[in-house]
Structures are given as structure tokens and as C-alpha cells.
């Protein structure tokens, strides 16, 4: 049925559209501003000329950063950490969600193990004990310090487990009649139909690992081992620090000083760190949404 539009309805729709446009712009414009600053010249930035379009367009800030070893090194650590971390997360999610998705007849200890994992949502030991466990297991300064403590994500396990439980039971029974064991049932029958939920948790894990900075800060003793977000954190908290270090370390970069300052280089670094998120953003929108709804509407 077509909704008939009264004059007041039309006014509402126009106001609503304008309001939503403004609200949506507040979510985007800060990033446009950031991008504009990163491509503007130092003089334009210092004199507050830059809003949403680069002034005196140049790419010196980017060249400056890509010449900086610390940035590239941290970027590599972040890539390594994210790839390894997501793989470990995903493997553990699959290996854990499958047994827990079984009915009580098929897996007697299901409840015990479910509670074993859920308790970790309800209570955690806090910062210092967690820190000491990483220290005592000898992970300090190792990439595994960024991966193992968060390797078992119970929320993601529950999302996948709930999805597996929602699958028709006939799937497994058919595999069972064909003589398939648990491993081959999981790999050949269950996993292929779990693609949407696995995509969701993979993206969850990707965003988590890419954005993590705190663990890098407390578990890595030298800044050269910092992942990108941790490194950025030091730059953000103390904007001039990177700039001073960078200019001290490589004097041949001084030719850039005409064009860049801490604000333009920081803007460029932040934007570069956003790129991986922007790349997966279309998928995020698709799968996070289904994942969220899936995880929350179940009874």
C-alpha cells in the first residue's frame, strides 16, 4: 500500500533527510579533514587554511613516513601479528565451537566445557595477573605475547557454536551413516556450510588484531618491536616525538622539512593505518551485520 504523503509528512521527510545527512557527515568529515591535512603543505596547515580539501597539494608527508624505518617496521609487525593472530583465532574457534555445538547425547561433557569457557566472560583476573602470566610463560618481547593471551575468544566461539547448532541435524547424520568420523564430518560437511559465520568471526578477529595497541605497549620492551597501533599511540600522545626522532636519525630527510611538520606526518600515518580497515570495510558491513543479528536474536 502506498503511504499517502500529507504536507506535514513531506516537511518531516525533508527535515529528517537533512538531519541524517548532517549526522552522517559528522562521522566522515573528521577523516576527510585528516586526509586533507596529510596532503597539504606545512605552511597551509600551520596557518589553519586546511579544511576538507588539500591546500598546496603534495605527498611529502607520505614520502617522509615511508622513508621512516620505524613506521615500516611496525607495519610489518602488525601484518605478521594480524595474519598469525587471525589464523590462530579461527583455528581455535572451529576446534572449540564444533564439540560444544553437539547435543548432550553426542558429547557428554558439553555443559562442563561450555561453563568452563563462559566463566572467562563473567570474571577476569585483571591487568596485573594477566601481565604476570605473560611474563611467567616467557612471552615478553615475543610476537606470541600479542597472540596467545587473546587466542581463545569465547564470544566468537559462541557465535559460531550457535550457528552450528542451528544447522539441520540431517547433515551430520548423513555423514555419520556414510561412516565419517568427527574430523571429516567437521571438515567436509560442517565447515563448508559455516562460511558466513566464519567470515564474520574472521573479520571480528582481523579488526581486533589490527586495532590492538595496549598489549604491544606493555609486553614489548623496545619500541622497535611495537606493532603499528602501539607505535602510533606513542606518536599521538607525543606528536613531536616521531618528528624529532625521524629528523635526527636520517638527516637526508631534512629536505622535506620545508613541506611537512608533525601534523601532516601524523595525519599521513593515521590514514595509512586506517587503510586495511577501509579495504575490508565493504565486507565488514555485510558480515558484521549478519553476525551481530545472528548472535543476538537467537533464543
Amino acid at each position: 500500500m502506498k503511504i499517502k504523503s500529507s504536507p506535514s509528512r513531506k516537511i518531516f521527510l525533508v527535515c529528517n533527510f537533512i538531519f541524517l545527512t548532517l549526522i552522517s557527515l559528522t562521522c566522515i568529515l573528521p577523516f576527510i579533514n585528516l586526509l586533507a591535512i596529510s596532503f597539504s603543505s606545512k605552511t597551509a596547515v600551520v596557518s589553519n587554511q586546511v579544511s576538507f580539501w588539500p591546500v598546496e597539494f603534495n605527498t611529502a608527508a607520505y614520502t617522509f613516513i615511508l622513508d621512516n624505518n620505524q613506521f615500516l617496521h611496525s607495519l610489518l609487525i602488525s601484518v605478521e601479528r594480524t595474519l598469525l593472530g587471525v589464523a590462530v583465532n579461527l583455528l581455535l574457534i572451529i576446534l572449540t565451537a564444533y564439540p560444544l555445538s553437539k547435543s548432550k547425547q553426542d558429547f557428554s561433557a558439553r555443559s562442563v566445557f561450555s561453563w568452563f569457557f563462559v566463566v572467562t566472560i563473567l570474571f577476569n583476573g585483571g591487568l596485573i595477573p594477566g601481565y604476570l602470566m605473560v611474563k611467567w610463560t616467557g612471552l615478553m618481547d615475543s610476537i606470541w605475547a600479542l597472540i596467545l593471551p587473546s587466542a581463545v575468544n569465547v564470544f566468537n566461539i559462541l557465535v559460531v557454536m550457535n550457528y552450528m547448532r542451528g544447522l539441520p541435524k540431517e547433515l551430520e547424520e548423513a555423514a555419520y551413516i556414510d561412516g565419517a568420523g568427527h574430523i571429516s564430518t567437521l571438515v567436509r560437511v560442517i565447515l563448508p556450510v559455516c562460511t558466513p559465520t566464519l567470515a564474520t568471526v574472521t573479520l571480528f578477529a582481523f579488526v581486533f588484531h589490527w586495532n590492538s595497541w595496549f598489549d604491544g605497549m606493555i609486553y614489548m620492551s623496545t619500541t622497535s618491536r611495537y606493532p603499528l597501533q602501539t607505535y602510533l599511540q606513542t606518536v599521538v600522545i607525543n606528536p613531536e616525538a616521531f618528528f624529532r626522532n625521524a629528523t635526527n636519525v636520517s638527516s637526508e630527510l631534512s629536505r622535506y622539512l620545508e613541506l611537512v611538520n608533525a601534523r601532516t606526518t601524523n595525519a599521513a600515518q593515521m590514514f595509512l593505518a586506517m587503510i586495511p580497515i577501509l579495504l575490508v570495510y565493504p565486507f565488514l558491513q555485510k558480515y558484521f551485520t549478519t553476525g551481530l543479528v545472528m548472535g543476538s536474536v537467537k533464543g
Binding site: M1, I3, R9, F12, L13, N16, F17, L20, I23, S24, C27, I28, P30, F31, N33, L34, S51, L91, L92, L95, T96, Y98, P99, D106, F107, S108, A109, F113, S114, F116, F117, V119, T120, I121, F123, N124, G125, G126, L127, I128, P129, L132, T137, V152, I157, L158, I177, V207, N211, W213, L232, P239, N266, I277, Y281, L284, Q285, L292, V293, S296
Partner: protein, 315 residues
């Protein structure tokens, strides 16, 4: 039932039934081993590590060599002049985020739901979801720049209007509100997803019937739309209760400074400074345990209420 499915097992089903069942389940146990080991070490291990809160903990002597002091650490913690203000700050900021974090997404989803054109709707969604996926490190860098009274865009707007630019991140009066607003800004778009899903779940026939009965748009919203998403709103409210002591470490830590400690220091930043920066392990663990203990009560209560009133179970 399992046995009838597998003819081989039929022959000796009766005597070996239990062992047979166990053997068949054995791979399931093996699959759980890696996760169980990691959870035992890093989750249960740190839970056990909270005994530090009851010790005069010495890193060199370790967990077993340190002297036990009962509740002494808690006594010194509760008598610290900064502790209770920190609790107050935490609750103020957390409550602001919880309330705004429900109301703003609900209103946004209601307004977005009025947009008929799906392409326009999707464009708005694409824009507002973005901040949710970025780290507070990047957002902090962004807001340092934007909110700077002298050089930031906001400061320039105030100056253009002939007003003094407020120092949102340096004024103790403005800091908590700024934290709440920025957190809502980051999360409202994505937070609206769940309400939009609830809105699409409302039976469209109800609206047609209401129109035939002569109900106007506002009446339809009041009598159909709001009741239609009420259970989701209640569920999200109840679940958010568990965040009562979560002021948001990432946001505060990256945006605060010593001049706003009086209103901006929260339990998590307090625990961090005490433990990692000042190496007061026992005191910091005690503060952390206080948080975990209170949060435990709220989490269990919120799950219980969610189950009771909205039929929501996490597993």
C-alpha cells in the same frame, strides 16, 4: 539411536556401550585441548593470580614466596584519597555512555527507518558505521587535532562565531562529557544495526491495518513501531548494565592528561598507572579485583535479567 545408525556397533552394543560412546567422543575432547590449555593458563591463571591482592607481593619472591597480608591492600586502596573520586568518575562516564549508547542509536534507527529509498539509507549507514571499526589510537590522534582550541576545526568554528574556544580535552568540567559524546559518536551507527534489524522484523500488515483505522504517522510509531522494538531495547539496556565500571580504557587513556585526572581518571586508567607505571602490583591487583568482583555481580545479574525478561541466553 546412535547405535541403530551404525550397524557395526549393533553386535556388541550392550556390554561395551559406555566405552564405545567414550571412544566415539574422544576426538571431540582432543579438539578442545588447545583452547582449554590456553584458557587454563591465561584466563584461569590470571584469576588465580589475583591472590596477589592479598599479599605483600614481591616479584623476586613470586606468588608462593610473598608474604600474606589479608585485606591490608584493600584497606590502603580504599583509604587512598584518589580512589573514591575515581570510582565516581568511572560510574559517571560509564552511565553516560550506557544511557546515550541506547537512546542515540534507537532514535537514529527510527529516523533512518523513515527513509524509503534503500540506496540513500545504505549510504547513511556506510558513513555512520565507519568510526566503530577504528581504534581509539587513531581517533585520539584525530580528536587531538580537531578539538585543539587554537588549530582545530572546532576551535576555528568557535573563533569564527566570536566565542572563546573551549578546551574539551583540558578542562576538567568538559572532559567527562567530551568522553561520553565521543564514545557515542563512535558507536551509535553500528549500535543502530540491532534496532534496524528489529524494525525490519515488524509485521508490515500492522501498519496497513492502522492506516485503515485512520492512525497517523505518530500514532503508528507510538503504537506499532516502539512496541515492536521494545524487547530489543530492554535487552540491550539490561546487557549494558554489566558495563557499570567500564569507563573505556582505550578512549580515556589516549585522550586524558594530568590536568583532567580529577574528573577523567577512571578505574582502568587508575589500575594501569598504579600497576604498570608505578609497579605497585599488589595494590593495582586489589583495585582490579574490586572491579572484577563488582562487574561479576552486574554481569551475572544482567544475563539473569536478560534471560528472564527477554529470553536471551548466550549459549
Amino acid at each position: 539411536m546412535e547405535n541403530t545408525l551404525n550397524p557395526k556397533k549393533k553386535e556388541n552394543a550392550a556390554p561395551n556401550h559406555k566405552r564405545d560412546k567414550f571412544t566415539r567422543q574422544l576426538p571431540l575432547y582432543f579438539m578442545l585441548i588447545p583452547a582449554v590449555v590456553l584458557v587454563v593458563v591465561y584466563s584461569y591463571g590470571s584469576m588465580a593470580g589475583t591472590v596477589i591482592a592479598f599479599q605483600k607481593f614481591n616479584l623476586a619472591k613470586g606468588l608462593f614466596g610473598s608474604e600474606w597480608v589479608g585485606f591490608k591492600n584493600f584497606e590502603s586502596l580504599f583509604s587512598m584519597p584518589t580512589f573514591w573520586p575515581v570510582i565516581r568518575n568511572t560510574i559517571v562516564i560509564a552511565l553516560g555512555k550506557m544511557i546515550g549508547g541506547i537512546i542515540v542509536p534507537v532514535i537514529f534507527s527510527l529516523l533512518l527507518n523513515e527513509i524509503a529509498h534503500s540506496g540513500v539509507k545504505r549510504t547513511f549507514q556506510t558513513m555512520v558505521y565507519l568510526p566503530n571499526f577504528l581504534s581509539w589510537v587513531i581517533l585520539a590522534g584525530l580528536f587531538f587535532d580537531i578539538l585543539s582550541p587554537s588549530t582545530g576545526i572546532i576551535g576555528r568554528i568557535f573563533t569564527a562565531l566570536g566565542l572563546d574556544a573551549p578546551f574539551f580535552l583540558g578542562d576538567p568540567k568538559l572532559f567527562p562529557g567530551t568522553m561520553i559524546v565521543l564514545d557515542i559518536w563512535k558507536g551509535f551507527g553500528f549500535g543502530s544495526v540491532i534496532y534496524l534489524a528489529a524494525l525490519t522484523g515488524i509485521d508490515q500488515n500492522l501498519y496497513e491495518a492502522a492506516q485503515i483505522d485512520g492512525a497517523n504517522r505518530i500514532q503508528q510509531t507510538w503504537h506499532i513501531t516502539l512496541p515492536g522494538i521494545l524487547s530489543t531495547v530492554i535487552l540491550m539496556t539490561v546487557l549494558s548494565m554489566s558495563n557499570i565500571l567500564n569507563g573505556g580504557f582505550d578512549e580515556i587513556y589516549n585522550l586524558y592528561n594530568a590536568s583532567v585526572y580529577s574528573t577523567g581518571d577512571i578505574l582502568d586508567t587508575f589500575v594501569f598507572r598504579l600497576g604498570i607505571e608505578n609497579a605497585q602490583f599488589a595494590l593495582s591487583t586489589a583495585a582490579g579485583l574490586f572491579k572484577s568482583g563488582v562487574s561479576f555481580v552486574f554481569i551475572v545479574a544482567s544475563y539473569w535479567l536478560a534471560d528472564k525478561f527477554a529470553g536471551y541466553r548466550i549459549f
